[in-house]
């Protein structure tokens, strides 16, 4: 079995204290004078790298691994509602085509629903090689167990090497169940995807809730699964001509027996969506009082922007959570984004790095937001925003 082995003979008390201090997850502890690793361990292996042999990583000798050659193709789950394909699914088709080319695999789509022929036809304009359709009236509503059954049927029949799922509400509910069913890895909210010649999917995402990127692989299992948020990748151009084979699959309808009842589906009120904004004025912990948001709003109105924010302002209840940019909020790609008083944790930057021009204002010159910015001002937003507002007004001859 792969495990961390502690060489107690190489550890004196001082070394033990160093190791305890070294572990960022408080997973190394002392018990009866000996060093132990507890269940807080995230296997970052820093203790192995920096422990001078005190802790070793020992791999299992006969690692059981799947035969990767039996798993072929990159599959995109097609998320749709009322006959419209969710843009994130098209973006994933774009990425799947890139990845598939490297390893000469086909790109597949799995389409689940009721009355979805039109969607299948539409998909033929985006360069998918095979479109696998499960069209049953029992699948009209998303009931997670029924969709999991169908997805499992697909994986057993087609054996795709990788599966990409949009991180929509539905995708984030369905993908984990499918992953658990196959006891395989699912990496959430990937921001970069690459592929190795041996078909291992390289999944990169911000990790540990902070300023760190983690590169994750699912070396010994297939299918490899990941979710990706909207606006991370680019959708392919819609082609005029159609291509790609549509296959209708049969499934035992007796298995589609979820007891969940869908009583009603209500379209949510049209709301201010920051995801579509051309200009975004984002604020963070640098804002000291709720009333100060008015100053930001005035500036945003002048530049034709929408005000958005980071997680702390949501947590203190000053802003609506629909206005949060970042991994736990929305991913945005505006033409212009201002970041006022935002330190720039990956949690946030991963949700806005695609913006065309980023302007950051922060009082701390070490703030990591400046690593994402194209223009930066080291200064107090309470001085900078009024000054910028004044300049714009002067320029446009606005006298109030």
């Amino acid at each position: 079995m792969a495990q961390l082995v502690i060489n107690h003979d190489k550890i004196n008390h001082k070394k033990m204290m160093e190791l305890i201090e070294l572990c960022p997850f408080n997973a190394i502890e002392e018990k009866d004078g000996l060093t132990y690793i507890n269940s807080g361990c995230k296997m970052c292996k820093l203790c192995v790298k920096n422990g001078n042999g005190a802790i070793e990583f020992v791999e299992e000798e006969n690692i059981t691994s799947v035969n990767k050659k039996l798993w072929n193709g990159i599959t995109v789950y097609i998320d749709h509602f009322h006959g419209v394909i969710n843009p994130v699914s098209l973006e994933l088709i774009g990425k799947a085509k890139e990845l598939a080319e490297v390893i000469s695999h086909p790109v597949q789509a799995i389409l689940i629903g009721s009355g979805v022929e039109k969607i299948a036809e539409e998909l033929q304009h985006y360069g998918v090689d095979e479109i696998h359709v499960y069209d049953y009236k029992e699948l009209e509503h998303f009931k997670v167990q029924n969709y999991t059954e169908v997805f499992a049927d697909y994986i057993n029949k087609i054996k795709p090497s990788s599966i990409l799922v949009g991180a929509t509400t539905l995708g984030r509910s369905l993908a984990p169940r499918v992953a658990a069913r196959f006891r395989t890895g699912l990496t959430a909210d990937c921001t970069i995807l690459k592929i190795k010649p041996n078909t291992d999917l390289v999944q990169i995402r911000p990790a540990f809730g902070g300023n760190i990127m983690a590169q994750i692989v699912t070396e010994r299992h297939r299918p490899q699964m990941c979710t990706v948020r909207a606006k991370i990748f680019d959708a392919p151009e819609r082609t005029k001509e159609k291509r790609g084979k549509v296959t209708n699959h049969e499934v035992d309808v007796k298995k589609l027996n979820s007891k969940i009842q869908v009583l009603d589906i209500v379209k949510k009120d049209a709301e201010v969506s920051i995801a579509d904004a051309d200009v975004i004025v984002a604020i963070g912990r640098g804002i000291k009082k709720e009333e100060d948001i008015a100053m930001v709003q005035e500036f945003a109105d002048l530049v034709g922007g929408k005000v958005a924010c980071t997680r702390p302002l949501i947590e203190c209840g000053w802003m609506n959570n629909k206005l949060q940019v970042g991994l736990s909020g929305r991913t945005v790609k505006p033409r212009l984004l201002f970041a006022f008083g935002i330190h720039g944790a990956v949690q946030f930057t991963a949700g806005m790095n695609g913006s065309e021009t980023i302007i950051a204002v922060n009082i701390d010159e070490q703030a990591s937001i400046f690593d994402s910015a194209h223009y930066g001002i080291i200064g107090d937003l309470y001085k900078v925003i009024p000054k910028l507002t004044e300049e714009i007004k002067k320029d446009r001859k606005i006298n109030f």
Binding site: C41, L46, T169, R172, S173, P176, N211, Q261, N321, S372
Partner: protein, 260 residues
């Protein structure tokens, strides 16, 4: 009715960085807290208990220090607490964590309703709830934004599906993950804290679980591996301004480049 709420101890701060020279993770502070999203799960359980006589138990997994969050939940009104803690669970990814938790829930006896927060602030995956439900072969509804009706047979809820709200009825046993803002979480009460100061927290180890296949837990039960961790790439060509005139200079530049 028996309700289980899954809670997690997470780092208090999120400011973690990699030292570029040594590759060591640097933390600011070591304090930890209950995952903020779990407070909404706990409050949902308390609200249900108001309508239907229930016993609320919490389950957490982590090192012995994680007992602190269970104790905190006692002072909010939770009845019983279980901590899953064993070195054999070390190095678990989402899947192995979900499996161990699902086994822990089984060990807690017949549970009608499992409530989880939407996600954690340190992992941000939102996957553990649905994966546990799959392992327990029970239905689940994610992103529950409102609980409309509670009966002894089922729950009727609103699920926030992004563009739509779906009203669904789900029978027990089942699992729901609740949205932030479903209710306003209560604060721990000092009286409860005193009253529960000596209440025991049951610690479950590997040996207490039904499935004793070591390949399904910890590192060995984790299909994903972290190959490396690194700081995000920096942007080398940026223009910086400072001083009193910074805003004016920046505005000038943006105007020339037709950005504003």
């Amino acid at each position: 009715m028996k309700i289980a709420v899954c809670i997690k101890q997470v780092p208090g701060g999120t400011n973690v960085q990699v030292d570029p020279v040594t590759g060591v993770l640097l933390r600011d502070g070591v304090d930890s807290k209950i995952n903020p999203y779990d407070l909404y799960a706990l409050e949902s359980a308390f609200q249900i208990k108001k309508q239907i006589d229930s016993e609320i138990g919490v389950l957490s997994m982590g090192p012995p220090q994680a007992k602190a969050v269970i104790r905190e939940s006692f002072s909010m009104g939770v009845d019983t607490g279980v901590l899953l803690s064993d070195r054999k669970f070390a190095g678990a990814d989402v899947l192995a964590t979900s499996y161990a938790l699902a086994q822990g829930l089984k060990a807690m006896g017949d549970i009608d309703l499992i409530i989880c927060g939407k996600q954690t602030t340190d992992g941000d995956t939102a996957q553990v709830g649905p994966e546990m439900a799959e392992y327990l072969s029970i239905p689940h509804i994610s992103n529950v934004s409102k609980i409309l009706e509670v009966t002894s047979e089922n729950l009727t809820v609103e699920a926030d599906m992004g563009e739509t709200i779906e009203i669904q009825t789900i029978g027990y046993p089942c699992l729901i993950t609740v949205e932030k803002g479903i209710y306003t979480p209560r604060l721990p009460s000092y009286k409860n804290k005193l009253d529960t100061a000596t209440r025991g927290i049951k610690v479950l180890t590997f040996d207490d679980l039904d499935d004793k296949d070591e390949k399904k837990y910890g590192l060995n039960g984790s299909p994903t591996q972290v190959e490396r961790i690194f700081n995000p790439p920096k942007n080398p060509d940026k223009e910086m301004f400072l001083g009193d005139e910074a805003a004016i200079e920046l505005f000038g530049k943006l105007k020339i480049r037709k950005i504003i």
